[in-house]
Amino acid sequence: MAKLAGKILIVVLLGGFLGATLVRFAPGFGVDEEELDTRLNNQSVQAMRDAQGHDRNLLAFYSRYLAQLLHGDLGVSRTLQRPVSQLLAERFPETLKSVGLGLLVGWSLALPLAIAVVMSRAWLLDTLSNLLVSLLLCVPAAVLALLFVLEQVPARLLLSLVVFPKVFRYSRSLLARSSSLPHVLTARAKGLGNMRVLAWHILPTAAPQLVALAGVSLSLAFAAAIPVEALCDLPGIGQLAWKAALGRDVELLVNLTMIVTLVTLLANSASDLAGKYFRTGDA
């Protein structure tokens, strides 16, 4: 357990550093749109540029950031000019709600549908569900967002439409493969009913990969939260990440990268452990 925590810590810190590197060396770092205000005289413009310049040395920035972090200070966002910790505290619940709802609805639609398709073996259901998935994958999120607003559906549910197709497709493949394994065929031949075959043979075999999929779908949902929140103007950390990216706000982006890394690692470590349980239980 301690080893795991140590590993997570190292990776998260590395993630923060790499994220800061990516931001620092991208073009447009240290410029501010406000410089173009024609009312400003030369000294003001120069002062603005100097103010942006103090984070140019990456190592110095990161070591200062880590030192502050030990005191619980996450820094101040340069684009929104407020403490990062305050911004995160305000916006995290919003994103958690969206991601949670998205995953819940997405999985509740995807898994039963995948099971139904695999168990019923009806090609019509298969084709229709595949068309639905293709449709959802192909329609741009911006169009879906507008559709939601037109029909007055809460914008948060858009995330579930992003999660659903991918979860459905992978789980369908996994379940289909499990159901064609020798011991399942044997069980069927022995006359075991559909539900029992599903519960005792198909699901447990596919369980480790399904659990891995669950972990991946969490990081997928988080990644999808960024464009969805930016499109629908939901005040979560996804929208914050988008604005920070556009403004090259390295303080915010370092923190956000570390949070995303942490969430991804935790989700995937949890699914790894769960997967191990399924496997040992199975054996």
Binding site: D37, R39, N41, N42, V45, Q81, D233, P235, L246
Partner: protein
């Protein structure tokens, strides 16, 4: 029974008539989160919206008549050849939290504004010369402000100065304007409620504003904003896209407002920075007036206005839009669209057509790129239209859209670009507000910033003329100088002006007394006199 019924109906009717002009919540959208509530530091659009709605100013430029009107100051006098302005203030006014208003607050605001460490853009507008700005409190209701050098158009500048309280514990949140910030859900919305101590009353003695509260939703997505307007969730859109205007004009014409040409301009320019990383032959092209003229005459501006802006724009002639009635130089002719004449101009510089491609005198094929900010549909369209126009004279134009920070970096730091397409949003009529665009030593002199000495004779001439117009108070003399600047710009075309957009807005019919204008803020410039009809069937 019938009588009772009639009485009840009458009562409801009477009450609703009485309520028709009071109460309600006005809802519209901000496109980004306001960065600050300190009026002195405000630079972004959203913060300035908050300032307009909550800040009390000494005098206000009436957006409809373009004349200055008294607000917190009942009268003022400019003396000392434009160096000193003395205000007579209204008596017995209070801030939103009850703190007394007096001349000391004006002095405090000026001191904050001119603080050299803050670099307030509004403050920079007042910085006419070196030296301190002195504010003298002459009485509780009289204050005199003296500037180190004369400032022409001094009175209109105070439209941007929202007076802060020197003594209130709420600091910048105590305001003198019609509304006060009541709720701020970061990133989501702001609610402003009426200022209980607002000093303005209407002709019948009723305290303004009529509308009780204003809800500002933070909505960046313009498509969603439009849907919300048609659903009745918001009451107006301050600046509307041309496509949506057309749709609204056909489905709901009473809601669509075209206030005519605005002050905004869209233009492009060539990189003329001497030590830019461009090859020498390209620098030679871009610094040649004939070349720039030829490009300008090869671009079909009327097509741009007709197609890219759906007809809601007009071809631009120079830096000043015709909406700026006083300062626009009406003698200037529109730039012709004449590709034959353009080729003749280019021939003077040694350019020759070889097959379908234009080559310079050294044999280089004429090809260059234009950068513009990605995500702006109008600019992307204009650049693509220019691509086709310039291919008509054998020039290959590459359109490169960049995200804004990358664009700014190329424009101001690395100078690694060839041409740039951008626009200017003008809120101020006075040429002093764009002084920093025309002075060759300025950082914002986009085609060749921060020159130690003027690189060309005509730039030196523009420097002289701009300083001339800033140093006299006589409007006619100023106009003569600035007209000359516009002529030089027309001849030399450091900026190739393309179009002036129209001011389009959409307002729900339930908002009364709305008169959209071309100056910003287009719809709610008279916010304290707007009212909402009490529609029972309105869906929230």
């Amino acid at each position: 029974m019938k009588k009772l019924f009639a009485v009840i109906v009458f009562a409801i009717f009477a009450v609703s008539v009485a309520l028709a002009q009071a109460g309600g919540e006005l809802r519209f959208c901000l496109h980004s989160e306001p960065k600050t509530f300190n009026p002195v530091l405000m630079e972004d659009d959203s913060s300035e919206t908050i300032r307009y709605l909550t800040g009390g100013v000494l005098m206000r430029v009436n957006r409809q008549t373009q004349e200055v009107e008294p607000e917190l100051a009942t009268s003022w006098k400019i003396t000392d050849s434009g160096r000193t302005i003395t205000f007579q203030l209204r008596k017995d006014l209070r801030f939103s939290d009850g703190t007394q208003f007096s001349a000391a607050d004006v002095a405090f605001t000026m001191q904050q504004l001119m603080d050299p460490a803050l670099h307030s853009p509004t403050g920079d507008s007042f910085r006419s010369g070196d030296g301190k700005v002195e504010t003298r409190v002459l009485a509780k209701d009289r204050v005199a402000i003296t500037f180190p050098a004369p400032i022409s158009g001094l009175d209109k500048l105070f439209d941007q100065v929202a007076i802060m309280s020197a003594t209130s514990p709420l600091k910048e949140m105590a305001v003198l304007g019609p509304y006060v910030v009541a709720e701020n859900k970061a990133g989501a919305y702001l609610i402003l409620k009426r200022n209980p101590n607002y000093w303005k009353h209407d002709g019948n003695g009723r305290q303004l504003p009529y509308i009780d509260s204003v809800r500002l939703d933070i909505q960046q997505n313009r498509d969603i904003e439009m849907v919300r307007l048609t659903h009745g969730e918001i009451d107006f859109i301050n600046s509307l896209d041309a496509e949506y205007f057309d749709k609204l004009a056909s489905s709901d014409p009473a809601m669509a407002h075209d206030a005519g040409v605005s002050l905004d301009t869209e233009f492009m320019w060539f990189n003329q920075v001497q030590n830019s990383p461009l090859p020498a032959y390209k620098k030679a092209w871009f610094t040649s007036t004939n070349f720039r003229h030829a490009i300008s005459e090869s671009i079909n501006r009327s097509d741009m206005a007709r197609i890219a802006f759906r007809g809601h724009a007009q071809a631009a002639i120079g830096p000043v839009s015709p909406a700026n009635k006083f300062w626009f130089n009406a003698k200037l002719q529109p730039h012709p669209f004449d590709q034959k004449a353009a080729l003749q101009l280019l021939a003077q510089d040694g350019f020759r057509m070889q097959g379908d491609t234009l080559h310079d005198r050294d044999g280089h094929a004429v090809e260059f790129s234009i950068i513009t900010n990605a995500g702006n549909k109008y600019r992307e369209r204009m650049a693509t239209m220019m691509q086709q126009d310039l291919s008509g004279i054998g020039i290959k134009l590459n359109v490169v859209t960049l995200d804004f920070p990358s664009l700014i970096e190329r424009m101001t730091r690395t100078f690694d670009y060839e041409t740039c397409l951008l626009g200017l949003v003008n809120t101020d009529l006075d040429p002093n507000s764009v002084m920093n665009v025309w002075l060759s030593s300025s950082e914002n002199h986009q085609w060749n910033p921060s020159q130690k000495t003027p690189a060309t004779q005509w730039e030196a001439e523009i420097d002289r003329l701009m300083k001339d117009q800033a140093s006299t108070l006589d409007p006619n003399q100023r106009k003569a100088s600035f007209d000359k600047v516009q002529e030089i710009v027309w001849q030399q075309e450091p900026f190739i002006y393309l179009v002036n957009k129209n001011a389009l807005s959409a307002v729900s019919t339930s908002v009364r007394n709305v008169h959209p204008v071309a100056l910003r803020p287009q719809v709610y410039w008279n916010i304290d006199q707007l009212s909402l009809t009490s529609e029972v069937a309105r869906n929230h």
